[in-house]
Structures are given as C-alpha cells and as structure tokens.
Amino acid sequence: MTRTYSNTLLVLARAEWKMRQQSTFLGFLWTLLNPALLFLVLYTLFIKWIGKLQPDYAVFLIAGIIEWNYFSSATTYALSTLLRRRSLVANYPVAPELPVLACVLTSAFSHYLELASLFAVLTLFAGGPHLNWLLLVPLELSLLALICGVSFFVSVLYVFFLDIERIYAILMSAAFFLTPVFYPLSTIGAGRRWLPELNPLTHAIEALRAMAIPGYSFTPGGLAFLAAAGLAAAAAGTIFIRKTSARVAERL
C-alpha cells in the first residue's frame, strides 16, 4: 500500500466517520444503542430457555451480537457507498475500492470501541487479561477482510441493480437465524450443524466467545476457516471492483 493510497484512505475514512456522526443528533451513541437493544430483547426472550443450556449466557449473547452486528451493519452501510459517493467516483481517478474501504473502516472503528468496552468489563468483573485474548488480532483481521470482500461485491452490484438492497436485507434476516448469535451450536442437530459451520461468521463468534468465557470450547480450525474465507472474499472482491470500475464510473 503506497503512502498516497493509505493517506487518501485515512482522510476519506475520517471524513466518512465525521459525516456519519454529525448527521444524527445521537451520533456514535446510535451504534451502541442498536446492539444494546437487540441484546435486551434476546436476553429477555431466551434467558429462561437457552440460559439453562449455556452458562454465562449474557456474555455469550453479547459476543454473538457484537460480531454479527459488525458484519451486518458494515456491509449494509457499504452497499450504497458508490452511489452515495458518486461525485467522487465519477470525477476523481481514485482506486474504486477506496470509498468502500473508508466506509468499512468507520464501521470497524465503532466495532473496536464495542470490543474495548466488552474487554474492559471482562477485565473488571471476570478477571483478565488472558493469553488467548491475543487471538483477537487474527480474528478481527480475518473478519475485516471478509467484510471488505463482501462490501466490494454488494457496493458494485448496487450501482447496477437497486434491488440488491432489498435482496440483501432479506438475506441478512435469514443469515441472522443461520448464525449462532443467540443460540449455542449444540442446540442444532448433528445432521444440520454443517449449515452454520459453513458460515465464516459462526467461527468469528465462537472465537470471541472462547476469549470471553472461561472454558468455552473452541477449535482453532474454525479460525483458520474464517481466515481463508476472509482472504478469498477480499481477493475476489478486490478483483471484481477493479475490473468493473470503468463500468461503474460510466453508470454513475
């Protein structure tokens, strides 16, 4: 990454962050309110049922929501980036992935603040830090790569097919239930467990839970699968957005 590229990316990300926060009265608080409300609803609904099967259900649920919400909100927000930034893409020869990356970075920053809050609470009330918290680095890098890859695809497709926004919302609703955000994988029959296990997000959530809940069983192979999926998505997404950049500029 050249210095000019990284400087442009940082300036655009900073601008994106400011615009995002300044356009609403509550600003950054909105990014915390959404997962907090989801946690409240799911915890109230499921504590008596799933809480019996899963110790530390509050932390279990928070870890699931934080990772899910990051993927969901980052890719959904990135989806409309090229259209929202059309004056930039159509008038400056910027690398086409830059505005999308800048957008994803703002979501990542919010996410890291959430994670910092989680680990601060864990340090205060559950003891820590622990050595396995270092797994956070490969976990978050892999997840960021996955989000970038998916964002590159959906942001380009949205320029050509506005329907993608609706389709993606439906897919995300289905994916929410196919991802073990609020239930443990063990509640799914062995014959159907391959479905959530094929989902890279499952492994991101499980890895975070392994760091947050003492004794939580976790297989490193899951993290390797997430890393491979993230790298593949980022590589394919980058090739796709660069190959289609001229058509995107024409369309915009």
């Binding site: 000019t4 400087n7 442009t8 300036v11 655009l12 900073r14 601008a15 400011k18 615009m19 300044q22 356009s23 930034r85 004056s87 930039l88 159509a90 008038n91 400056y92 020869p93 910027v94 050509f160 097919f161 506005l162 329907d163 001229a246 500029a249 024409e250 369309r251």
Partner: protein, 237 residues
C-alpha cells in the same frame, strides 16, 4: 518550459451504451452479464488524436454533448477508452464538475484535507493555511461547506488542485464559476503553472474568459475534432 509532450492522445474512441430505464432485476442482470443493451450505442468520441506540450494551455470547446467532458474523463483515467491510447507525462490534477466530491457536512478545513488527499498531497498545517488564504475562506474555516455559496464552494477543489504540484490540469467548465476576482486569481495561478511547464486543458463554452492564457483551441463536434489551432484563426461558431 516547452517541448516534451505532457498529454498524448492517439486514435481515441469511446462508445457509451445508452441505458434504458431500469426495469426489473432479471433484465438488468442480463444486461450486466452479457453486456447487451437494447438501445443503439452512442459514439461519444471517434478517432481523437492530439498532443499537448509542457507549458501549453488548450481550450476545449464544442456544443453540449460534443464529447468534452468524456474526453477529460478519459484523460483523467476515470473512463476507459474503447480504442486508442492516452499517455500522460506528469502528475495529473482533475477538476471535473462544480464542487464535485465536496462534503456538505464537513467543515471547510476538513474539505481541504479531502481534496488534498484526492490530489495526493499531504495536507500539513502550513498547506491548510495557504489554501485558506488563497481561497479567501479563512473566516469560514470551521463552517460547514453547505453554508458556502456555490462560487465559494468551487474555490476549495480549484485552489487545492492548483497547489498540488501537478503538471497536467484537466478542467471542466470550472473557470466559469466564482466571481470575477476569483477567476482572475485562478487564471493568474494557471499562467504561473503554465510558465513552469504545466499542460492545461480546459473545457469551456467561452474561450475568451481566459484569452491571455490560451495558446490553442480544440473544437469538438459530434465526438470528432473539427478544429485544432490558434484561437485567432478558429472559425466563428
């Protein structure tokens, strides 16, 4: 400084596929995947060849739809040509569209940072102060860009580009923006850059607005060059 070519264009052709109104997902997907569009392709530029030497300023004229903006976007590398080649020798500063990429919710200072980044300039405090002084917007430093008039808005991308160290300037209609004082200052700065070896090409409907700057006129008609020569010898429109 003159002699070496800053811009070389050979046999440039660009065809757009006119878009039908959005219909449904399946029709759009088919168009996207197989590249077939139901309307006749529009040839925006056809067999365009010219070069611009260092220290030369070219006014690009022509009626609306003649291909001026498309040509500038091809030179900037935003669009890809269907045929032909563009060679640019030097750092390029594109100024395409009034206040393009200006962010209404950001302050004037933050917008300067964005435009500096887009022009590959690391905007330190001195650079920011310099641009604020050049644009006459020092008093609006912390004001949101949406509070500026359109003439004031255009100064930020313009002056940021003119102080970016670029050697090739591609300007689309922006010389007609802003008040007379700003235009005079912008033209004076462009004249300095030209003297230092920059190549300038700007699209305009009124080449007379920068008469002292222009060495050459290129007129486009229906995507082809109909005149390329000194302004004084150009046929009257």
């Amino acid at each position: 400084m003159t002699g070496e070519n800053r811009i070389t264009v050979q046999g440039l052709t660009k065809t757009f596929s006119l878009q039908s109104p959005r219909t449904d997902l399946f029709s759009e997907a088919k168009k996207f995947l197989v590249g077939r569009y139901p309307l006749v392709p529009l040839k925006a530029l056809e067999d365009i060849s010219f070069s611009v030497a260092a220290g030369q300023a070219v006014a690009l004229t022509g009626h609306n739809g003649s291909g001026k903006s498309t040509l500038l976007r091809l030179l900037a590398g935003i669009l890809k040509p269907g045929a032909g080649a563009v060679r640019i020798n030097g750092k390029t500063a594109p100024l395409l569209g009034f206040g393009a990429a200006m962010q209404d919710l950001l302050s004037v200072e933050e917008n300067i940072r964005v435009f500096a980044a887009l022009n590959a300039v690391a905007a330190g405090p001195q650079y920011i102060e310099h641009i604020l002084a050049e644009t006459g917007l020092a008093g609006f430093r912390h004001a949101n860009a949406r509070e500026l008039s359109s003439g004031m808005r255009v100064r930020i991308p313009f002056m940021t580009a003119l102080h970016s160290g670029a050697e090739v300037f591609l300007i689309d209609e922006m010389l007609s923006a802003g008040d007379a004082d700003f235009r005079a200052a912008a033209i004076a700065r462009l004249a300095e850059l030209k003297k230092a070896g920059a190549a300038i090409i700007f699209a305009t409907h009124d080449p007379g607005q920068a008469a002292g700057l222009v060495d050459r006129l290129i007129t486009l008609e229906h995507g082809r060059i109909s005149y390329d020569g000194p302004p004084a010898a150009a046929p009257k429109a």
